[in-house]
């Protein structure tokens, strides 16, 4: 299988190597996004993610296909979590494998940057006294 595209409740970062490794791949590059404890010096209690799942999977598929067109990749993984996530928990993992490292490094950056721009997933920051939908307002 060339692509793994998923929206899940919990991300298991340990399984991504097996998903991306390939006899023709000398390079595997992975990005993991996790919950950070502070936003602008305010303590974050948790992040809550919601999605429009049918559309999110379609958009992720398009991004993976574009990456496969643009670079010579062997495998691509894009997986995002939904629900409430605590500090240090992984929320997104993307990765690619290729014969040499340049392609997978560049593709990995493209996968996460484009996911953040177009995939319908929303993040609410929960602080002690308030909650904020990230990027909603200027």
């Amino acid at each position: 299988m060339k692509k793994v595209i998923e929206i899940v409740d919990v991300i298991d970062t340990a399984k991504v190597y097996a998903e991306l490794s390939d006899a023709n791949s000398g390079g595997i590059c992975v990005f993991v996004g996790a919950v950070r404890e502070f936003t602008n010096n305010e303590e974050v209690v948790a992040l809550e993610f919601e999605t429009y799942k049918a559309m999110a999977l379609k958009e992720m598929e398009k991004i993976a296909d574009k990456a496969l067109e643009k670079w010579s990749l062997n495998k691509v993984v894009m997986r995002h979590a939904v629900g409430e996530k605590g500090v240090e928990e992984p929320v997104v993992i993307v990765g690619a494998s290729s014969a040499h490292r340049d392609a997978c490094f560049e593709a990995c950056r493209f996968l996460i940057d484009t996911l953040k721009e177009t995939v319908p997933i929303w993040k609410k920051e929960k602080f002690k006294n308030k909650t904020v939908w990230v990027s909603a307002h200027p």
Partner: protein, 79 residues
């Protein structure tokens, strides 16, 4: 015609789905946005407001017949 709401737009509307009766049914995406902003002025304060028709981003001129799956997409913030 039913419209789905997500993220902050769900909070503004107070529901994840609303129905438009035939007499108020917008003819295209631009009209839908205009009606929503009139009913919920908070929508105009958002960084962006996109519409998806059958789970694809739709331009303002896309026509609506009411049988599509229509969703309001506030600024996304995954990752």
């Amino acid at each position: 015609m039913n419209v789905l709401f997500f993220g902050i737009t769900k909070d503004i509307v107070g529901s994840s789905e609303i129905s438009f009766s035939d007499e108020f049914k917008p003819v295209n995406v631009a009209e839908l946005k205009k009606q929503l902003i009139e009913s919920y002025p908070e929508f105009s304060k958002l960084n962006s407001l996109a519409v998806a028709v059958n789970s694809e981003y739709a331009d303002d001129n896309v026509l609506l017949n009411g049988n599509e799956e229509i969703a309001i997409i506030p600024p996304v913030s995954g990752g």
